[in-house]
Symmetry: C2
Subunit: 423 residues, 2 copies
C-alpha cells in the first residue's frame, strides 16, 4: 500500500507490524557490513592464481628489466600496455601505480596545490580560492580529497546521462573553478553510464581556468555484472581531438579485478602531462612495486583476459544485485517511499528515499546490526540537502546474509517513513 | 709517489703512463653502472623464497583480517610488529607503507606544506620562508624533496660522529629552520654511524620552531656487511624521554633486505603523530599493499630472521667493498690525491678527492664506460663547493666487473689530478 494514500489508522497499524518485524530481526543479532564496495571472499579466492605466477628469479625479468630491482618510475612497459589495452589509450600515456588509484588522484591534486599542474599560472596553494565541481550523488573519497586541501566544493546535479552538462558548461566560466570529479562508467553510487553526448561535451569544455582538470575516475571500466562488456570512448583521444589534450587525467585500478588491497593502478594522461608529472613524481619515489605489476601482466595478460575474468566476477555479483533489487521492488515499491537505479555494472545501488529519512533509516539499520555507508556521504561535505540518498553496497556479504540485511534495510526505511508521516 | 712531491717531469711521465692505461681500458668498451646503491642480482636471487610464501587463499589471513581485501590503513599489525622489532620502537608507532620509504618521507614533507604537522601553527606553504638542514655529504633524494617544495637548504658539516651538532644546535634557534635530514646509521654516503652523544644531542634539541622535524632515515638499520649487527638506540624513546616525543619521524624499508622494487616500508612516529598523520593519510589511501606486507612477515618473521638474512647479504657485499677499498689503497693512497671512509655497513664508499677534480674524474669514468653518481649529488642543490666528494656504489656489478670499474675510476682520478696539477 502506498503510504501517501493511507489513513492515519492504517499507518499506525503498518507501524505496529513493522516494529514487530524489526524487533524480530534485532533478535538475530546480525553483524553485517555493507558500508563499502568490498568484493566478497568468493571473488578473492577466485583469483588466487595470481599469487603463484612468479616463483623463480627467471620469472621476474620482463621488458629487458629485472622487475625486482630499483628503477622504471612510470612502471613496467608491459603493465602500461595492459592498461592501455583496457582503457583504449596509448601505453606512453600510462603511469602505473601501486594498490590504490585513489593515491594517484590525491597526488595529482596535491601537486596542483604545491607545484601547480602543467598549465597552472601558479600553484593552487597560492590562490585565494579554488572551486571544484562535484557531481552528486558521487564518491565520498573524491570529495574528501579536494575538501582536505580547502577547495570549495560545488554540487552539480547528476542526471540519467551523467552530470548536468548545462550547469558544468556554465560553471567552468568561473576561473576559480579548477576541476571536476567524474566516474564516467557505472558512476558511484548511481551506476549511471555517461552518454556519448555527455562525454563529447566534457572533451569540448572550454574552461576559463587554463589548468582546469577533469578527474576521470574510470573505476568501473570493465565492471559489468549484467550483460556483456560495454565499449566506452577513450576520453584522452577525445580531449586531444577537441584541442585540449592536457585537460583530463584518467584513473583506473585492478582493485575490483584482482585483490582490492594488493592490486595495481594507473594514471593516464597526455604525454605532455606525463612528462610534467613524472618530473615531480621522480622526487617522490623510485618506482611503484614492479613485481606486483608483473604478476598482474602475467595473470591478466590483456583486455581479453581481463574481460574473461570479469565474467566470473559478474557471475558472483549478479545474484547479489538481484536480491537487492527484488527486495526493494517487493518491499518498498508498493509503499512509494523511495526510488532507485537499476545498474548493470559497478558496485552500488543508489536509493533515493522520501525527503528527510535517510539518516534515520541508517540509524535503525545500525540498531539491528547492519552497517551501511553513512547518510550524506555521497554529497560534498557529507551533507545531503534532502537527507534522501542511500548507497547500498551488496558485494561483501554472502547471499544469505544479504537477504537478511535487505530485510533489515527495508523495514528500517518503512519505520523511518512512518515516523516521519505520523509526525 | 705522492703527486705533491713530484717534479713537473715526473708528473708528465705519470700522465703519459696513466693516459696509456686509460686508452687501454677504453678499448674494453665497458658499460658499468655504479650510480646507485642497487643490490646485485645474486642478492635478489637469494631472497626468491619470498615469492612463494603465499600460495592459497588460506595463507592470506592474519591478525583477524583478510590481507587481500580493503582496509587497515596503517598496515597489518604483524607488519608493524616486525618493524617495531627491527627498529626497537613500539608497534603502535609504526605506519607500514609500500615499496618506498622515500614516498613516506615525501608525504610527510608534502603534508607539512599543505596541512601542517601536528604542532604547526600553520601549513608551511603559508610561510614566507622555510629552511631545512642538510648534513652533507648526504643523500641527494632527501635534499631534492625539500628543494622541490621551495625550502632553503642549509648545509651542515658531517663529522666522524655525525652532523656537526654545535652547528645544528645553533641553527635550530632560527624559527624558520623547520627540520633536518639524517641517515643515522651508515650514513649515505659516508657510512658514518652517529655516536651515542650525537644521538643524545638530537633527542635533546630545543628548536625555536614548534613543528621542527627530525627526518630520521634509518635506511641501513640492519645493513652491516662487515662484522656483527650493531645495536642502535631507538630515537623515538629518546625523544620521548627528552620531552619532545613528536619531534622525530623515523623511516626504514626492506628495499635492501628483500626486493628493492617490491619491498615494504615504515614510518615510525609517536602515537600522537600517528593519530594526526593517519587522519591525513586516510584521505589519500585505503591501505598500502597488505598482501606484500604479509609476504614480508612470513618470510622475515622477526628481527632475528632479518638479521640472519642480512648475514647472507653481507657475505655477498663484503668482497665488493674490499675490492673498492683495496684498489683505492693500492692505486690512490700513494698519490695522496684523495681520502675515503672505510665503512662497515651501508651501501657506499665516500671518497674526497683533492679540491676541484671530482667532476672531471667522473667525466673521464663515463668516457671509459663507467657511470657513477654525479659529482655534487651528495650536496644541497647538487653543488659540492669543493668539487671533491664522490660516492662509490659497489653493490650492483659482479666482482670481476667491479675490479675493472675501480681500475677505470682510479686512473680517471689520477688523470684529473694530473691535469689540475699540471695546470
Amino acid at each position: 500500500m502506498k503510504y501517501s494514500d493511507c489513513s492515519k489508522t492504517e499507518l499506525l497499524e503498518e507501524q505496529k507490524a513493522c516494529l514487530a518485524a524489526f524487533e524480530g530481526l534485532k533478535e538475530k543479532y546480525l553483524k553485517l557490513d555493507m558500508s563499502r564496495g568490498k568484493p566478497g571472499r568468493e571473488q578473492l579466492d577466485m583469483v588466487s592464481d595470481i599469487l603463484t605466477v612468479l616463483n623463480e628469479p627467471e620469472d621476474c625479468f620482463v621488458d629487458g628489466m629485472d622487475a625486482r630491482n630499483y628503477g622504471g618510475l612510470a612502471g613496467l612497459p608491459s603493465a602500461k600496455a595492459l592498461f592501455a589495452d583496457i582503457l583504449g589509450c596509448r601505453p606512453e600515456e600510462c603511469f602505473v601505480g601501486g594498490s590504490a588509484s585513489l593515491t594517484l588522484m590525491y597526488d595529482t591534486i596535491s601537486k596542483a596545490y604545491t607545484h601547480g599542474l602543467l598549465h597552472s599560472p601558479q600553484p593552487w596553494a597560492k590562490l585565494d580560492r579554488v572551486k571544484f565541481l562535484c557531481p552528486a550523488p558521487g564518491y565520498d573519497r573524491h570529495f574528501r580529497i579536494t575538501e582536505s586541501f580547502g577547495a570549495e566544493l560545488i554540487t552539480v546535479k547528476m542526471t540519467p546521462t551523467g552530470p548536468d552538462m548545462d550547469a558544468v558548461e556554465e560553471l567552468v566560466k568561473d576561473p576559480d573553478v579548477k576541476g571536476i570529479w567524474c566516474v564516467p562508467k557505472y558512476s558511484n553510487p548511481d551506476g549511471i553510464v555517461y552518454s556519448t553526448e555527455t562525454i563529447r561535451r566534457f572533451a569540448n569544455l572550454k574552461p576559463a581556468a587554463p589548468d582546469f582538470i577533469i578527474m576521470w575516475d574510470n573505476a568501473y571500466c570493465v565492471h559489468e555484472f549484467d550483460g556483456d562488456f560495454v565499449p566506452f570512448p577513450d576520453i584522452l583521444s577525445l580531449c586531444r581531438e577537441a584541442g585540449s589534450p592536457d585537460m583530463v587525467f584518467e584513473y583506473a585500478s585492478t582493485s575490483k579485478i584482482t585483490f582490492p588491497g594488493a592490486g595495481i593502478s594507473v594514471m593516464a594522461a597526455s604525454e605532455e602531462n606525463q612528462k610534467y608529472m613524472q618530473k615531480l613524481m621522480g622526487v617522490q619515489m623510485i618506482s611503484y612495486d614492479k613485481v606486483n605489476q608483473l604478476r598482474h601482466v602475467r595473470y591478466l595478460k590483456d583486455r581479453a583476459g581481463t574481460l574473461a575474468l570479469m565474467k566470473k566476477h559478474a557471475a558472483i555479483l549478479k545474484p547479489k544485485f538481484a536480491i537487492v533489487l527484488e527486495t526493494l521492488e517487493r518491499e518498498i515499491a508498493p509503499c512509494g517511499i523511495a526510488e532507485w537505479q537499476k545498474p548493470k555494472g559497478g558496485y552500488f545501488v543508489s536509493v533515493n528515499t522520501m525527503e528527510g529519512i535517510a539518516t534515520r533509516t541508517l540509524a535503525l539499520c545500525k540498531e539491528a546490526g547492519v552497517v551501511m555507508t553513512a547518510a550524506g556521504a555521497t554529497f560534498p561535505y557529507g551533507k545531503d540537502p534532502r537527507d534522501s540518498n542511500i548507497r547500498i553496497a551488496p558485494s561483501l556479504p554472502p547471499v544469505e546474509e544479504l537477504e537478511q540485511a535487505m530485510e533489515v534495510f527495508c523495514v528500517s526505511m518503512k519505520l523511518a517513513a512512518l515516523e516521519k508521516l505520523l509526525g
